[in-house]
Structures are given as structure tokens and as C-alpha cells.
């Protein structure tokens, strides 16, 4: 489909703005003016509407169909949350109103949402205080690492390293590095699929600032030795960090704070049903235990004795600002609505069904594919295409074949420690019929891998484009139409 710029017709307009009703005109000093006119589209409103409608039809979202993308928790995004975010009182409020004397009086509704959501998240994770300011999961990780760094600085600890399991999401080591730490990778015990505690014991020492854990980990397995790991970390005053990417598995069943985690981030755009938006905006609130609360980023929302909410920046030990204001407020609002509607019991049921559906898929496919760890999994399971590779069919081929059968593929080639990995996360919002249809498609593909592997290598054939040449893309670097 041609890019929008090629549809431009000279003299066409898509908006009408009011006429200038003041006597003044543009008077900008010559040296500050553009030398060449800004080259933008000239299109009608309908031209634009058709262009983006056509683009949307080349996309696949949760509303299109089953989207078992492991680690991403692609659950249904309730429409009522979108409605709430569209309310004028929330959508059209300037954040700097709170900087004006008495301005907070005009923002009490939004401040209440922030305050209450922080409390709800404290409850869900057993942490003492939360900040909603981080704007994505990786941003939460970075914020958490900066909080830990500030804690160690304050105590005069000379810490330089962060320990991270080799199965962890790539953002973990990357965030630790952006926060100024060296990263040491700790291997997974191949026998159990869990962190190798002996190797961890060898690695942890006075230099260790933190250990970052995802529990359940990216293999979908819960690590029951978490208290032991926490004690080990704390014996060196290292902080234990909880990556909440997989929180959808454990609500009401395990709270990171009870497992002695010191810092946690949660992904509101995963567990708490805010939509992913084709890559964002997300929201990655961070919760901490009491001893780290002074280091939380500002601004913080405080409830006064008279019940009024106010905004406070006066925390001398705070790491400062990670977001311009209160984080991705409208995303947080959607998660708040979702939690209100679920309630405690509802959230527990969410995790129960998410785990049941993942185990059901694993058990239904175990005879057709190798399973990385054939034991009870949590909310996601990791299969491998090892067996299919004997016929030259890779995880990528299987993913593309699934597209032709109408499904979004699982996450592939992650975790990195499993060859030809396919990480499947069904979420609790998929019906048994949808899951069964997916299982059937996977079984069929396994059969085709034996009968007609060549066909799989050519998939997908039902899409507007086939497999695209990524080498050409990287080499030519055509990243803008100018």
C-alpha cells in the first residue's frame, strides 16, 4: 500500500481552523524563520480516514483473534476502561494545575485515582509504597535500579554489580546497565529450569547491589526457594528485585513482598488489562518496602488529614523525576477501573484460569511438540520445535504457519536458553473453544511438519506480504519517506 505522502494532492486540506480574529499577524525575526516550506501532506479528511482504516485492516490485535504471545499477557482490554479514559475530566486536565496555589482543588478526582491505585497495588504485591510514574515495564526496572542505587549511595555501600538469571527478559540486564551497573548472568539449572542457587551463591558478594528475578520465570516456572534467595541477597545488603512481567500467574496466590522482595515493578498493560497500543503506551509502577520509600521518585500524592489530596515533591532522598508528572495517567486509570471491577476474588480467579489454560495447552500439545520442562507450569508454557527441526521446520516456520491458520503466533526464540523456543501464554480471557482451535492448528502444523515441511517454510501465504527481507532492511536503512 502506498505511503500516505504519495497520496498528497496540491491544494487539498483536511481541517478548517477559525479565521484569525485578532488584529495581530505573524511577526517573527527573519533569522528565526524557516528557509524552506515544511513539506507535509495535502489530503482531505476522507483521504486520511481511508488510509488509516486500510492500515488498521492489515493489523492483528486481541480484538481480531487469539494472541498467545508469551510474556506479553495479551488479554482482552475491556471497553469500559477506554470509556473512562475518554471522560473529559480526566483527558483534558493540565498536569501543571497542581503547581498553582489551590490548583490541586481542581484535580482531586485524578489525584484520588492515583492514591487509590497505589494502595491497591500495595495490597496486590504486599509492598509498602508505590509510584505510578514509570511509563513502561523497562522504565519501571530502570526506576527500581535507580532507587536501589540511591539506597546504596546513602548507606555508603560500594556496589557495582547486578546479578540476573540467564533466562531473564533482555530489559533486565539492559536496565541495570543504564542505571550504571555491571551485569553478571547467573545460569539456570538445566535439570529444574530454575535459577542455579549454587551458582548464585558463588556469584553474590559485597559488590552485589541487587538480584533481579522474575517469578514465575520466563520458562513459566515458579521458584519455591525465593525466601532462601532473598536471605542470601540480604546477607550482603543486596536488594531483591521482582520483575512483574509474569504477575498474571500469581494474584492472590503469592505476593512478592511476602517473598521478601524489596522492589517490584508491575506491567499495567499486561496483568491489568490496559491495551498495548501496538507497542505502547505501557505503564510500569514500582513498589518498594519501607526502607526504600524515601528514594521513590516525585511527584508523590499525599492524602491530608481532612481527606484532601495534595502533591508533594519535598523528599530530600528521592531519586528525583523519572516522568514529567504522574506517569502515564490514562493508562493507570484504565488499570484502576479494571482492578475495581475485578475485586480481590476476581483477580484471584484471573490467575487461576490463566494458569489452568496454560497447563491445558501444554498437556494437549506435549505429544506433538517437545516441552522445555514437562511439569506444572504457571501462566505460560515453553515448547520447542526441536522435533520439527529434524524435518527442517523451525519455530519461525511454525509461527508463520499459525498466521495462515488465523492465529497470532506465540513468542519465539525466547527465552534464549531454550533452542527453538515457542512461549505460549493464552491468558484467562480466551474461551475453551478458542484454545481448542489453537491446539488443533498446532497439531495440524506438527503433522504438516512431517508430511509437507516445504509448505511450512513458505508460510504465510494469506497475508498482504510474505516473509520480509530483514537483511535488506538493515542494509538499506530506508526508515523515512523524505
Amino acid at each position: 500500500m502506498p505511503v500516505i505522502f504519495s497520496k498528497s494532492v496540491r491544494g487539498r486540506t483536511g481541517v478548517s481552523l477559525p479565521e484569525n480574529d485578532v488584529p495581530d499577524n505573524v511577526s517573527i525575526p527573519e533569522n528565526c524563520l524557516r528557509t524552506s516550506p515544511l513539506d507535509l501532506c495535502e489530503l482531505s479528511e476522507l483521504d486520511v480516514v481511508r488510509h488509516f482504516t486500510a492500515l488498521s485492516r492489515k493489523n492483528y490485535g486481541v480484538d481480531t483473534g487469539f494472541y498467545p504471545l508469551g510474556s506479553c499477557t495479551m488479554k482482552y482490554n475491556p471497553k469500559v476502561c477506554e470509556k473512562a479514559a475518554g471522560l473529559d475530566g480526566f483527558a483534558n486536565l493540565h498536569p501543571m494545575l497542581t503547581a498553582l496555589p489551590d490548583g490541586v482543588k481542581m484535580t482531586q478526582g485524578s489525584l484520588a485515582v492515583i492514591y487509590e491505585l497505589e494502595n491497591l497495588l500495595c495490597n496486590i504485591t504486599a509492598m509498602d509504597a508505590f509510584t505510578l510514574t514509570p511509563m513502561a515495564g523497562a522504565h519501571g526496572e530502570l526506576t527500581g535500579m535507580m532507587i536501589i542505587a540511591a539506597y546504596h549511595r546513602k548507606k555508603g555501600n560500594n556496589k557495582t554489580e547486578v546479578l540476573i538469571p540467564d533466562e531473564a527478559h533482555g530489559t533486565n540486564p539492559s536496565s541495570a546497565a543504564v542505571a550504571g551497573y555491571d551485569v553478571k548472568s547467573i545460569p539456570t539449572d538445566p535439570a529444574t529450569g530454575l535459577l542455579d542457587i549454587e551458582k548464585l551463591k558463588e556469584a553474590v558478594n559485597e559488590k552485589t547491589a541487587a538480584i533481579m528475578m522474575t517469578n514465575p520465570n520466563t520458562l513459566g516456572l515458579f521458584n519455591p526457594q525465593i525466601k532462601e534467595i532473598a536471605a542470601l541477597a540480604h546477607s550482603f545488603d543486596a536488594q531483591l528485585y521482582y520483575d512483574g512481567a509474569n504477575l498474571n500467574a500469581i494474584m492472590g496466590k503469592f505476593r512478592p513482598g511476602d517473598g521478601d522482595f524489596d522492589v517490584v515493578h508491575v506491567n499495567l498493560h499486561k496483568t491489568f488489562a490496559a491495551p498495548h497500543g501496538g507497542g505502547g503506551p505501557g505503564s510500569g509502577p514500582v513498589g518498594v518496602k519501607k526502607h526504600l520509600e524515601p528514594f521513590l521518585p516525585v511527584s508523590r500524592v499525599v492524602k491530608k488529614a481532612n481527606g484532601e489530596f495534595c502533591v508533594c515533591d519535598d523528599y530530600p532522598d528521592s531519586i528525583g523525576r523519572v516522568a514529567p508528572f504522574f506517569g502515564n495517567f490514562l493508562v493507570n486509570l484504565k488499570a484502576y477501573v479494571y482492578i475495581l471491577m475485578m475485586g480481590g476474588e476476581g483477580l484471584k480467579k484471573v490467575s487461576e484460569q490463566a494458569v489452568l489454560s496454560a497447563n491445558y495447552i501444554m498437556r494437549s500439545l506435549k505429544d506433538h511438540y517437545d516441552v522445555a520442562y514437562l511439569k506444572t507450569c504457571m501462566h505460560e508454557c515453553v515448547l520447542t520445535a526441536k522435533r520439527q527441526m529434524e524435518n527442517g521446520v523451525s519455530a519461525l516456520d511454525i509461527a508463520k504457519a499459525l498466521i495462515d491458520k488465523g492465529f497470532h503466533p506465540p513468542t519465539i526464540y525466547f527465552p534464549l536458553i531454550v533452542k527453538e523456543a515457542m512461549m505460549i501464554e493464552p491468558t484467562e480471557t480466551e474461551s475453551k473453544e478458542a484454545i481448542d482451535a489453537f491446539i488443533e492448528a498446532m497439531v495440524e502444523i506438527a503433522r504438516e511438519a512431517e508430511d509437507n515441511p516445504e509448505a511450512l517454510r513458505n508460510a504465510p501465504v494469506s497475508t498482504p506480504v510474505g516473509r520480509l527481507n530483514e537483511t535488506k532492511a538493515a542494509k538499506e536503512m530506508n526508515v523515512a519517506c523524505l
Binding site: 523497562a138 533482555g170 539492559s174 541495570a176 498437556r363 498466521i403
Partner: protein, 456 residues
Amino acid sequence: MSYIPVTPEQQREMLLKCGVSSIEELFKDIPAQLVPAEFSLPKGLSELEAVAKLEKLASQNNSKMISFLGAGFYDHFIPAAVDALISRSEFYTAYTPYQSEISQGTLQAIYEYQSHICRLTGMDISNASLYDGGTAVFEACQMAISATGRRRIIVDKGVNPIYRKMLRTHIANLNVELIEHNVFSDGSLSRIALKEIISENVAAAVLQNPNFFGIIDDHSDIVVECKKYGVIAIQAVYPIALSLLKSPAEQGFDIAIGEGQSLGIPLSFGGPYLGFIGARKELARKMPGRIAAKTEDKNGNEGFVLSLQAREQHIRREKATSNICSNEALCALRAHIYLSLMGKEGMKSAASLCHSKAMYCRRRIGSIEQVNMTDSRMFNEFIIELPINAGECAKLMLERGFIAGLPLSQYYKGEIGPNSKGENSADNLLLVTVTEKRTKQQIDDFVKNLEEVICR
């Protein structure tokens, strides 16, 4: 309310397949002593109850006042078609476009968005977006540090103080030296002093145009100085102004960044917003985040993919150029739709209206005897010096239904104002913003009320 479609009977069938008799058995790996005795959250609400609660909360905000507050975050007109198109759930319920064959909509939109950012700024390359303008400043500085191997950053104090606060937070543990360069007391760039501190030890110099006080400038001479010493020159911009003002590329900058909220994104009490970045192509491999690129399939069909992934965290882990993964894709799509609708003429007329109305407003306020004005080279924001405390004035104006602007003492103490270097020099300074949404009538009412408030 529950969104779980699996019925109890189906649950039983699924449990059977799993070889367990209860769901609890699936959680047996969690040690019993770690299972919370209670999970004390409120009882769930129905949709009707939830909406009623949220409508009540929304009504406790006052979004109806007439606003002259900007300071980097603006109340601009948003065409209805932006909201209509962004509501298509094929866009908003999708994930990052890893599977390009079923994500051509998102990928082409990112490519076109990147094109729009490049056209606005005059740069060669862009990315799928960053969290916000402040993050963009930090990421641009990281690019400069990596490209030059130097660890000193100069940031002009005309750069949004919120960006600077964010930058200070992000470099706290990074062994980076930050020099915040003072402006003149009227808020304008102290260029000779700036040129003196640009040297071969500096990684980046960051400027903003229009600067935080609304003052417009041509930074070409500063960039020349930067080039002399191999310093990466970074400019933060206000995209609405770019159909009138000299682009960062026209001034020679290496990297352009900014807050894209003004491009069709509602104020939203602080987010989600949009950090945008454009750069010269030589810096492509230092770029943070996702980048979409054009390519083709084996049949020669054109298509788009996420490219240059060897920079990114899922491949490079701790050696990645940035940890950014999720970004503000949907806000970038908003900005892209907005720019497509506004087009060449719309953008120009929005910018002209902002500027003309601000000129009018400034002139009207200037006719109030007790008010002093500073620099007049502005786009749509300007500082006024009141005879009373600016915060007090803003408070009284709120009572009259106006958000009068930003009292500058919130962010500046002693750097600007009539008695700069004094603790309270900025106390009476108010930063006033006018967008195309303000009518002459509203401006006249505003000035009348302002006069009454300060002359009481």
C-alpha cells in the same frame, strides 16, 4: 464483573486433561507459608457501578477553565477524526509488531510517523517513539556520550526544567558531568558565555527553541562552535512551531528531540505523552528504541519490518544502546494521524494563529501599566512581570475561571527576573501561553480580569 469465558464445566474438562482434580494443585509449587491468608481487596464492581464511580471522580476535576497555561504541554485543537481513527482496536489491541506479516498496519504507520518527524525536524532518521520529551533529552545525551566517548553534558537553562530534572535523575549513577548553563535575567540565551564552555571535553550541548520562556532564537552560531570541537548539538523543539521556525537541521543540529503531546494528544494529566527524536543518519546505530524500515518480500512486494534490532535489549542485553522496549506507539500514531489531517496548510495556520493571538495577548497585557514585559521574540509564550506574587495572582484568576499561566518561581530561583541572583527574583514572573483555541473574546476577558486582580 468477570471477563473469563470458561464455564465451570469446561474448567472441569480442562483440569481432567491436566491430570489434576483442582486448580489449587496447579499452584503446588508455591510454598504454603507464602500463600497469603487473605487477599483484602474490595469486592468487584459491575460495569454500571464502575462507570458511576469514575464519572463522579472525573467530576471532581475541573477541566472547563480557560487556560493560558502551557510550559511545554499544550491545549491545542484535536480534529475529531484523530479520536475516531485511534479507536480502531486493530491498532490499540496489538502488541509491538514482531510478526511483520500481520502487523503491516502498525509498521507502515511507524515508518510514516518517522517520516513525519524527519520532515518536521529536517533530520534523516527517527524511531518509533520514546516515553516523553524528558526521556528524549536523556536518550539523546546517551547517544552523544556513546558517539564521542566524552562524559560532560551542557544543558542550557532555557531547556524545560522538567526535562532537566529528569536528566539529573537519570545520570545520578552514571559518572556524567552536567553543566546547566545560566540564561540572562530576561530568559534569553547567554551565547558568548556558552561558547566559552564548549570544548573538546564536551559530549553534547542541549538547547531549546522556543526556549522554556517562549523566546525564539537562531542557534546556528552555537552549532558552528559545537562542530569545531566535535560536540553533538541537540535541540529540543515545539513541533507546532516548526512550520514557521527554522528547523533544527537548518540550524545544523545533529539531534532534534521534543515532546510530541501538542500533536493531537490530550493533556491527560501528564500522560501518556510522546517523546520524539530525529538524528543525522551517521548516528543511526546509536539510536534508542524501535525503528521501522522499508523492505520487500521474495516476490518483490514492498513491506515494513522492525530493523537495526542488533542495537536492542532483546539481542544485546546489557550492551544495548538503550533499555527502551515498550514506547508510546499509540501516541505516535495519534501524532501521525494529526499531522496527516492538519497537513501543510493546517499546521501553518495553527502556528500562525498561536503566534498572532499570543502577540495580541502580550500587547494587551503590556498596556496594563503595572505589568512589565521582557523579550518580545516569541512564538506563543511570554513572561510577564506582575506587581504582585505570580502564584497569588494565578490563585485569584482560578477563582475567576482562568488558568493564568505558570508562576516561574516553581522552577527558577535567582536565575531570572528583575533582581536576578536574589532568592525571590522570579516570584512575580508568570509564563503565559496562548494557543489557537483561545478566541479574541477569551483573551480580552482574560486581560480584563488580570487587570482587576493585580490592581485591586
